[in-house]
């Protein structure tokens, strides 16, 4: 940086300075015929002495006369030509690395030659050559200067401000497209998405202005651009400018970690890596637009201030490749095989791109950028298609999911967890999804299931597009769970399974935005269903067991009151105690292994079992206990006190074999 020539003083514009320098040349030439030779001699030393000499000269009074003006202008051209040729003879040297005064002299010489050529005065041939030599040099100087003063992009500074956004989202979910039970489910945490943080709050780079060229060099670049445009070398200027900017941007992109990948390659990247790349892209696209392109825009405006047309053309032309490279990955992702786990990332990409499109439009002034913008729009649309397609795919996978992995304990199926967490994540994107899923009513009414009360048309109409889709997906989930529940041979376990899963669903819905979208009605219906399952469970599981404690069964024994009757009745009572014990122990054996993970539901179930069983047992024991008690093996029949039973019931649904000693003695 220190090698850079000091910037020209701010007070005088570049052109003023050059004009002044040109005046000096003119004046000095007018005073002496040998001045030109002298000057060349002095200049060939490439030092500052020229300025000290020329500043000592006074303006010649003859300058007002036309004749002498022509003479002096011819002489000025001679000197300018000499200077240009001199520099041309030393291709290794760079004007813009020479002392400041030399730069001014050279630019002044260029102005003189250009003007001379434009006037079409005598010696236009020579002027043409001189201008061409100067332009070729300026073109080269522009390239060199731009490279020499390029500001490297510091990715660490950017990363710091970017890190805030790179929270995870779906990586909490299984990375396989299956609903895999083996994966740990640390899922109940609030879902986070890549956009999570302060993204909506404004441009995080407001305070991060990146200038791709050091400010002190910008004036030099503009001075070159002015000369080239002025001499009619706009095409060469544009070419040099664009080619060098393109290459520098390529460097920046690789610093930012934006890789150049073909679509075909992206198709073959494993999900884990693709996930990383997608995350990087979401940051990358914002950085590219807000930092890189904004910087290019400023540079373009500053350097090519001479022509609006050039400004536009060069900005578009020089950034086209960079934009294409960024966009290409969007395309590659959009055509990737559809799988549910990509959804959140694709949504992140969609939202990032949608967010920067207006900014890109602002960067491309006028309508010249329409082509680029429509390309970007096309990719945005394709990402939108990919979102829709992925959701279709999710629905399909959900319908077809048919893992036969037995849920031995009747607990929450991994699929339920996966789907619910997935749907909760979707809600985070509800704004975007409502937009993408809005097909203006429903194009596919056949998908609806009219038999389901949730789907009455009025209710559907009142829902958001995402709500309708969620309802449909919920419907698939419930249908799938119902199929799975049918796999249980034990109808009571089927109830427990359904209850567990439905409760999980309801809880997940209630404590998230899902609740608002699906509505109270939806939740109430599921809560009602859970109560029904709980009743069914009690009936299926306990009716038979409780039947042993019922009087009417005893009453049906051979008449009471008679002695023989008494005896047979005693047998029957014993039998009943025995049968009850057996039935209870079987339930205990089975249902301690069953699992109801929700503590409240578990307690409620136990309470309702207790409420049914304990009083009945207590009454039965009170009434008939004495008949059995005191007998030889009364412990065989009256194994449990009501308190024992109560204690054993508390072991149910804990998902581990009970600790109770079945042959526990009465205390």
């Amino acid at each position: 940086m220190s090698a850079a020539p000091p910037p020209p003083p701010e007070s005088t514009g570049g052109s003023d300075k050059v004009l002044a320098a040109a005046q000096h040349i003119v004046k000095s030439l007018a005073t002496s015929k040998n001045a030109a030779d002298d000057m060349i001699r002095i200049l060939s030393g490439f030092d500052n002495r020229l300025s000290s000499i020329t500043t000592g000269l006074l303006p010649s009074p003859d300058l007002s006369s036309t004749e002498s003006s022509e003479i002096s202008s011819a002489a000025a051209f001679d000197a300018a030509e000499q200077l240009i040729q001199l520099w041309d003879a030393t291709p290794e040297a760079l004007v813009f690395e020479a002392p400041e005064n030399d730069v001014a002299q050279y630019l002044a010489a260029v102005d003189v030659a250009t003007e001379h050529l434009a006037r079409g005065a005598s010696g236009a041939g020579r002027a043409g050559v001189a201008v061409q030599l100067a332009m070729a040099r300026l073109e080269e100087e522009l390239r060199q200067h731009m490279v020499r003063h390029a500001v490297p992009l510091d990715p660490t500074g950017l990363c710091f401000s970017l890190r805030r956004f790179s929270l995870g989202s779906f990586e909490d979910l299984d990375t396989s497209s299956e609903f895999d039970a083996a994966t740990p489910h640390s899922l109940d945490a609030t879902p986070e998405t890549a956009r999570g943080g302060p993204l909506g709050l404004g441009n995080p780079f407001d305070d991060h202005v990146f200038d791709p060229v050091r400010p002190e060099a910008v004036d030099d670049l503009r001075a070159i651009a002015d000369r080239m445009a002025c001499a009619g070398y706009g095409r060469e200027l544009a070419d040099a400018y664009c080619s060098i900017r393109r290459d520098l941007q390529d460097e920046y992109l690789s610093v930012l970690g934006v890789e150049r990948l073909s679509i075909d390659e992206v198709q073959r990247v494993e999900w884990k890596q693709l996930n990383d790349k997608m995350k990087k892209w979401v940051q990358g696209v914002k950085t590219v637009v807000r930092v890189l392109l904004a910087g290019e825009r400023r540079l373009c405006d500053q350097v090519l201030a001479v022509s609006d047309e050039l400004k536009e053309e060069c900005f578009l032309e020089s950034t086209k490749g960079c934009i294409m490279q960024i966009l290409n990955f969007g395309d590659a992702v959009a055509v990737c095989p559809r799988s549910p786990e990509k959804l959140s990332r694709i949504l992140d990409m969609y939202e990032a791109l949608a967010e920067v499109i207006p900014e890109m439009k602002d960067l491309c002034l006028g309508c010249s950028g329409d082509g680029v913008i429509s390309d970007v729009q096309a990719i945005l649309d394709r990402l939108g298609d990919a979102v829709r397609g992925t959701l279709f795919e999710f629905g399909k996978v959900l319908q077809k999911e048919s893992s036969r992995r037995a849920m031995m304990a009747g607990e929450i199926h991994p699929m339920t967890r996966y789907v619910m967490n997935y749907l909760r994540l979707l809600v985070v994107y509800s704004g975007t999804l409502d937009l993408l899923l809005d097909d203006g009513g429903d194009n596919h009414p056949s998908v609806e299931r009219p038999e389901d009360q949730d789907h009455d048309p009025e209710h559907l109409e009142s829902m958001t597009p995402l709500g309708r889709r969620l309802l449909k997906l919920m419907c698939y989930l419930e249908a799938n769970l119902e199929d799975k529940s049918k796999l249980y041979e034990d109808a009571a376990l089927e109830c427990i399974f359904s209850m567990n899963n439905l409760l999980y669903i309801v809880q997940k819905v209630k404590d998230s935005e899902l609740g608002k979208i699906l509505g109270d009605h939806w939740v109430r219906r599921r809560s009602g269903k859970i109560r029904q399952y709980s009743k069914s469970y009690l009936r299926i599981s306990w009716t038979k067991t409780l039947s042993y404690l019922r009087d009417d069964v005893h009453g049906s024994g051979s008449g009471s009151g008679s002695g023989s009757g008494h005896s047979s009745s005693r047998m029957s009572i014993k039998e009943k105690f025995k049968n009850f014990n057996l039935a209870f122990e079987e339930i205990y054996r089975n249902q301690t292994i069953w699992k109801v993970p929700d503590p409240q539901l578990r307690e409620e179930l136990k309470i309702s079992i207790s409420e049914n069983v304990i009083p009945a047992y207590r009454a039965f024991l009170g009434r008939y206990g004495s008949q059995v008690d005191g007998g030889r093996s009364s412990g065989k029949y009256i194994k449990y006190t009501p308190e024992d039973l109560e204690g054993q019931l508390s072991d149910l649904f804990e998902g581990s074999p009970g600790s109770a000693n079945h042959s526990r003695r009465r205390t």
Partner: protein, 422 residues
Amino acid sequence: MPATDSSSSSSPAHHTSFGRSILSLRHRDQIHHAFPPTPDHSHSTSSIDDREIDAFQRHAADLLLDLLPSSTDPSAAPEILSLHWTRHLLDSFLICLEEFRSVLFADAAALARAPLDRLLADFFDRAVKALDLCNALRDGLDLLRQWRKHLAIAAAALAPSRAGAGPLGEGQIRRARKALTDLTILMLDDKDAGGGQRNRSFGRAPKDGQGRGHHRRSSSGSGSGSGSGSHFRSLSWSVSRSWSASRQLQAIGGNLPVPRPHDVASTGGLASAVYTMGAVLFVTAWALVAAIPCQDRGLQAHFTVPRSGGFPWAGPVTALYDRVLEESKKKERKHSCGLLKEVHQIERCSRQLMEVTDAAQFPLDDDKEAKVQEAAHELVQVCETLKDGLDPLERQVREMFHRIVRTRTEILDCLSRPNTTE
């Protein structure tokens, strides 16, 4: 449904030189309503009409035939591998794709059934590879545009209509020569680098005294210096460095599965349609790679259609393939960075101009001046052709990309929709 570009000027519907039969006229009608909404599956025809599929194949054959020089009327088709011809080629491809699409959607429910699902998956695997080609070709066209800019500089410098209209001066000749020298180096670079490599030698400001190696300017002899030593080219933004058009072509056309008779029967002929589209895709991609500069061009990919298959387009596809291959073997084109006629013209034109102006004495004598003007005139013409042709061609390449993606998306949507399996 997004249909933003279906109305662009490159839409095949506006091409009038196609469609000879009543059948194809009907097809053009369909195409005119490019991309109607996805057909409603609920009332699709119960079975696919065999005749539809035959018609599709025959029309594909006709379209390809139109691209071949006609023996009876040599002026009928545009000169092979010209810009104009290449645009024709793309139009034909787009028409075929559109018809393919409507043939498929005639019975959307059938798409999910084996073996058609498998055949379609294979086709779209190949089509996705063509997407990279489209991108590489777009970059190649961009390169042509860069070349044209240099030509335009030279053309403008030598333009007879320049103000003042005096004889050409040394400055103008030098300016033109510099532009052409830069151009030649650009074109050579692309050949040497296999098209893809970019010189990444900076990004760091060179230290004092270093990094000056680039700075080679010479003003004597060859006219004003060219800074080409420091031209850093950006050829392709869309594909990785290791990407190869040649390999991609092999992936698109290699082992294109010829449908087995029972597959044809069980799919109601759709298997043949998929094969047809696969072949058209390949031959189109292959000819485009032949014509347009792109990374690691190579035409080694072999392609044959079984003669016994009874495919009406087998002849035209093979003829087209052979014709382009023949062109690529011509001596003067062998080392070209693209078989496009205009690329050849660029090379020839700039070489001529360089020769004519080499070591010229100024002012130019009348003879020389006339020669320069003649060469410059040709230069202007090439410039004009490129100027008019490149943008539409690029749009068509983009269109090819869009339509492949869109067709694929539609098919996938169709397969994903739960109700199609019910």
